[in-house]
């Protein structure tokens, strides 16, 4: 399955509704780039949970090698101080894909995502900074250190679900979602993605809940 953006994939204003990758992102940064509009065709809203099923199955299958790669990345980072490049790319694509799928399920994203987790392929995109050296101590203790962040991520997930139900009802009636609802969703997605990025050694910066920064590509 290729993961390119088709020509038809343009926003209502004719602009390509995808965020370009940000190579200038500082190391260790985890950011959500929003390049999506707020329109949500009612049919895709009504069936959103079912439309996401192929992605959920694929994500489940992808999780198996991701979990197998994690100990290898951990061992590599422990020995050399950095996650090996191929593993960094693979785990980054996995976390990015999970973010795309979550955005779609939670109605934060408008369009059906691709299946490869490519940077810049989706309107709600996860931007990860380049890999960098990490402290061996925090690498060694990464699992236990991530526990509090995961507990908060569960709470954030519940809130995001409630917000998604609101977005679903609103989207079904109006054919679009309120910007504030989307912003809340993006905040939740960013925190969850940051938590996974931290666990998967893609960043050494601890997850934090701060409002998402607007990006230049954002469309009304």
């Amino acid at each position: 399955m290729s993961d390119t953006v088709p020509d038809a994939d343009r926003g209502e204003n004719g602009r390509v509704a995808v965020a370009p990758p940000s190579p200038d992102l500082p190391a260790d940064a985890v950011r959500i780039a929003v390049a999506d509009d707020l329109g949500r065709p009612r049919l895709t809203v009504l069936f959103r949970s079912l439309l996401a099923l192929p992605h959920l199955v694929w994500l489940g299958l992808w999780t198996i090698p991701a979990l197998l790669a994690l100990p290898a990345a951990w061992a590599g980072a422990l020995v050399t101080g950095v996650v090996p490049e191929p593993l960094h790319r693979f785990l980054g694509a996995y976390v990015r894909y999970a973010t795309h799928v979550s955005a779609y399920v939670l109605l934060v994203g408008r369009r059906f995502p691709g299946f490869l987790g490519r940077a810049g392929s989706y309107g709600i995109d996860l931007e990860l900074g380049p890999r960098r050296r990490q402290s061996r101590w925090t690498t060694l203790l990464r699992g236990p250190l991530a526990v509090p962040a995961f507990l908060l991520a569960i709470v954030v997930g519940v809130v995001a679900m409630l917000v998604a139900i609101l977005a679903w009802s609103w989207g079904l009636v109006r054919g679009r979602i309120p910007e504030g609802v989307r912003t809340l969703g993006v905040l939740g997605l960013r925190y969850t993605a940051h938590t996974y990025a931290y666990l998967f050694l893609l960043t050494s910066r601890y997850p934090h809940l701060t409002p998402p920064e607007p990006t230049e590509e954002e469309t009304p």
């Binding site: 290729s2 995808v18 065709p41 049919l43 079912l50 439309l51 192929p54 408008r110 369009r111 995502p113």
Partner: protein, 398 residues
């Protein structure tokens, strides 16, 4: 070269059909005319006719609505491709799922009417919410199935171009075989082994007579949801099973009638009806895939997401057009299972009584209109099956 290849495929399919066609039912068997009212009772026949007439009317209306919807979707559905950021195959999946979703919405009022009618006639105990939830879950399975089918077909079409149809059909036949084999291991409803010792002893005797290995007999608990009675054979080789609904083990069915049901289902295994069903599926799937390839050519072929709405229409129309043939073949296999059941139970009265029981519990019309049998009848009509019991008796029991 193409003509020669096509001729080889046609001859191979025809030869396969010729080999699969014969059954154990004597070719010279003529069924006696049955007075349905005298056999099943005038009041029951009238009730069943009234019940089924509504079902037929709704079915026809639903088909018209679905076909109209799919024609419109074939024209305009490709526009939904812009709602995808995925590649061609992923976009095709989205367009396919949305097509199914629209069809589900269009069918919903008809499904609701059928459910209301079934409740009104005590054919189901389900409440509306549970029914809707089950229908939604079924749609989820359909979404996954269509996604898988499109991954296979579009993947092959993008790789092989227009030559995808033969390997594509082969993949679907392989999947059908795999599902037939694996389905007994996926328990959707709770089952437990049959505990009735007399019935089990009868099953073992029938297995010997039918010359098959021991087949596990299971009982499925459905009585909380329905009063209808049913039984089925499924699985392949080591996964072969026979399942009786627990409603079969209750009145109005007596032990002799239960034995006939058991013999009928075991006969499906002894006559290899499940592998034959897969082979028949292959015979239909190969030309179906070729027609699909030709019909989607103007939209860029099956590798393009724009072709998916047309493909949905073609599949539904092809299923409708071939329904009389596939139902005819299904009825032949069911008739063969009845015949073998008569041979091992030697109890035509029980088979006739069983048909009366089915009419009572499921409100099946004993003698439905011919067109409904052509389009919907996977089993011979109840009156026809009772006639077969009498024909067997008339030939002289051994």
């Amino acid at each position: 070269m193409k003509i020669v290849f096509g001729a080889v495929v046609v001859v191979a399919l025809a030869a396969a059909g010729y080999l699969l066609y014969p059954t154990a039912v004597p070719g010279d068997l003529s069924l006696p005319a049955i007075d349905a009212e005298a056999t099943f009772g005038g009041e029951l026949v009238a009730r069943a006719e009234r019940y089924e007439r509504f079902l037929y009317a709704i079915w026809v209306l639903a088909q018209v609505a679905v076909l109209t919807t799919l024609v419109l979707y074939a024209r305009r559905g490709a526009a939904y491709a812009r709602e995808s950021s995925a590649g061609p195959v992923g976009t095709g999946m989205l367009v396919g799922m949305l097509g199914l979703g629209i069809v589900w919405l269009v069918r919903l009022p008809f499904s609701l009417a059928l459910f209301w009618w079934a409740r009104r006639h005590d054919q189901t105990e389900l409440d509306y919410l549970t029914w809707l939830l089950e229908d939604w879950l079924l749609l989820a399975v359909e979404f996954l199935a269509v996604s898988f089918a499109l991954v296979v077909v579009m993947g092959l079409a993008r790789w092989l171009g227009e030559r995808w149809w033969l390997p594509g059909a082969a993949v679907f036949v392989a999947v059908a075989a795999l599902l037939t084999f694996a389905s007994p291991y996926v328990e959707l409803l709770p089952t437990e082994p049959l505990r009735d010792r007399e019935l089990l002893a009868a099953a073992r005797a029938y297995e010997r007579e039918l010359d098959i290995e021991r087949v596990p007999i299971l009982v499925e608990e459905v009585s909380v949801d329905t009063k209808q009675a049913n039984a089925y054979a499924y699985g392949l080789g080591p996964s072969r099973r026979v399942v009786l609904w627990d409603t079969m083990l209750r009145p109005p069915f007596d032990p002799n009638e239960r034995r006939v049901v058991l013999a009928h289902e075991l006969a499906h295994h002894s006559q290899e009806h499940l592998p034959k069903g897969i082979a028949w599926f292959a015979i239909f799937a190969v030309p179906g895939a070729w027609i699909l390839m030709r019909a989607t050519r103007s939209r860029g072929g099956m590798g393009a997401p724009e072709a998916v709405p047309v493909a949905l229409l073609v599949v539904v129309v092809y299923s409708l057009v071939t329904a009389p043939a596939s139902n005819f073949l299904s009825r032949r296999m069911e008739a063969e299972a009845d015949w073998k059941a008569l041979e091992v139970t030697r109890d035509p009265e029980a088979l006739e009584g069983l048909m009366i029981g089915f009419a009572e519990t499921s409100l099946g019309d004993p003698d439905p209109p011919a067109w409904t049998q052509h389009l919907l009848g996977t089993h011979p009509a109840l009156a026809e099956r009772a006639a077969m019991a009498r024909a067997w008796k008339a030939r002289g029991a051994p």
